[in-house]
Amino acid sequence: MRKDKIFIQVLMVVGVIVSIYSCVEPDALNDSDYSEWLSGGSQTVFDNGAGGFSTAFPHLTAAREKVHSIGDGAFGQTFVTAPAPQNPGLGPIFNNVSCTSCHINDGRGKPPLPGEQLSSLLIRISIPGTDAHGGPNPVPGFGGQLQQRGVFGAQPEASVRIDYTEQSYTFADGTPYSLRFPTYTLENPYTTLPAGVMLSPRVAPPVFGLGLLEAVDEADILALADPDDRNDDGISGKPNYAWNVAEGKMTLGKFGWKAANPSLLQQSAGAYNEDMGITNFVFPHESATGQPQYDGRDDEYEVSDSLLYSVAFYIRTLGVPARRAADDAGVLQGKKLFTDGKCSQCHVPRLRTKTDVAFPEISNQVIFPYTDMLVHDMGPNLADNRPDFDASGVEWRTSPLWGIGLTRIVNGHQNFLHDGRARTLLEAIMWHGGEAEASKEFVRTLSQDDRDKLIKFLESL
């Protein structure tokens, strides 16, 4: 039954490709571009609605589909205060109560509106210096992440106030635009915050397509790096190396806003531990250990090994939405502008996953994530001034752009960048600085029509 289904799917794919070849204007896309429709290679999915980021790989064996489904359930589990028959172990201090409450619809978080509580944005904190592995130096009494909520009776570490100041700019054609500069203030700390605390606000990033990114060969990522800018193009790109807990050594960082996380398992385990206060075999100690909020419940892992693996597997096997209108004339012109403006130097369109015989679903796929997985100097305006392993206070990982056009329908907003300060895609571009200064300036001098085409291209991703 299942084999038949796959056979039909293959026939359909062939049919699709034939039909595209037969009806697209011959010079609209060059030969290598056709697969650009399929951003996630053979794990591209075709829901361009609210479920666009929530669709499993189409090519999963039945057994893997079951694991994905179990992980899906776990991703949605709301944790509660222990002891409880179901999902105990929340907190005692935490940022949120389930994976999905930050990664709503497996998508992108945003900063709170005035009067709202912090929900899908959190604050990493550290003091100058490094920890034993060269990572951020935790704040005594607070750790490496601020937990702004607590279960009943546990005092949150602090609350966060966000203020914005608008600053006006103009495009070369005279059209004005405005950027909002955030400032973050920690209020009502439960104990004195030491001087010199560095804050790094981070919104929850989308979680689809990550298994494909994890499967990109390290050598391919390193080949894109040019940390000393030897080709003298003003763009460096450097790998971040971070402490890999499971392997007990430094390995290439791939995930998170500063590429300071080496694997999806560690990313998931860290989120359970820091964001929800859920202990697990990777991070067995409560985030509040040593603090007065600590409830002494280190006796057993609050999420089982199998569920942790299932959740990591779930996000590894969420497919990537197909492009929309990729052959539209305006989109194609926008794409050319994207290349001409050298945006594609860092937002590298095309990568290939390595061969993995144990996981054929993600093996040897041509994918179009629009990232180089490297960190870049993004200039002082975007800087958090908080180093994270090798990524300095001005460096951020190139964010993947695939699926970005669906943010509006999946998450109902257009807030981009690490702390959601940009309110449109265009604002996100205009925040770029540092190595991207020339690209930003290129966009600043575009005509309104060309700016629209560039955005149209991004919306089609």
């Binding site: 999915v45 829901d47 669709t55 499993a56 709301t78 509660v80 028959p85």
Partner: protein, 357 residues
Amino acid sequence: MKKSYLQYLLAGAALVSLSHCSDNDNASPVNEELNTQVLLDFSANLPQAVYSDLSTKTSTLYDQVVALGTNGATDDELAATRTTWKQARQAWEQSEAFLFGPVSTKDIDPHIDTWPVNFNDLNAQLNSGAEFTADYINNLDDALKGFHPIEYLIFGEDGNKKAADLSERDMEYLTALALNLKTLTADANNSWKPSVSGNYHTIFTTAGTGNATYPTQLAAYQELVNAMAGICDEVANGKLDEPFTAQDPSLEESPFAQNSIIDFTNNIKGVQDVYLGKYSADGKGLEDIVRQYNLQLDSDIKLKIDNAINALGKITDPFGKAITTQAMQIETAMSSINDLKDILETELLPFVQQHTK
């Protein structure tokens, strides 16, 4: 968020339509006027009507809860709040067949319908001196507010709570929760009202007219069908399957009111509503488009909806008990609902890809 397979079957139509073949000789007929009307009727008869109904019922619930507190509650009055709670639940569960737009993106869904309840903190709240202001409740975790904590307070752990068992503190918390539910469902109602700025009615029904969220009508139709299939998946493979496979009644939602099977049935009735374009009023629905081109598909979908609803009706024990006593009925219900999901994904979705643009 549960989704699954067969996407490649859908790939064909999707990509063909995306590639804008202007000279496609095989183009299927598209009745744009009807397609526009179906979107308009959907918005009016489903989200607008259902959220309005939900909002009215939670408003009634709030009034009844307030009266309970001021009159000195009688068992009859408590029974009336339970009935209203179930009526509000009916509207909400039917609305889960179109869980997209602001109710999803603005988190209204988890704010009003999170399971499990955080009993430790709920009891601690009741035993505390906290003043349950609207802001205070609004800032509570989702597991401490919404339908299920209200259910716990008015039904009691065994479903037999008496009015005399309602403490003063119970009443304070219950009143504040009922107000919070009323407020949030009013937000849901406003989010689709054509008269409210930024409403989703306009976003959804102007699909295909330079609309950034729904660039094509096809995108709006895909949203509808995916939402219908999505709730089928959730009911069959989440709500029914998880407690059943684990043989764990604690995984059951709505255990205090013993309302789970009714909830699941209303989920499927929601799918039926969307297909017919009908709730309290009847308008043009997907049914009308399907009937124009494929009567067989129309009768197949209707048969599978009926089968799913009937199969759920065969589970006669409370769900927490039925997971051990009525395994066959539960298995039949899961497979019937999965059959419905399959026809929506493998036949209705390709159909709308053919007959909308």
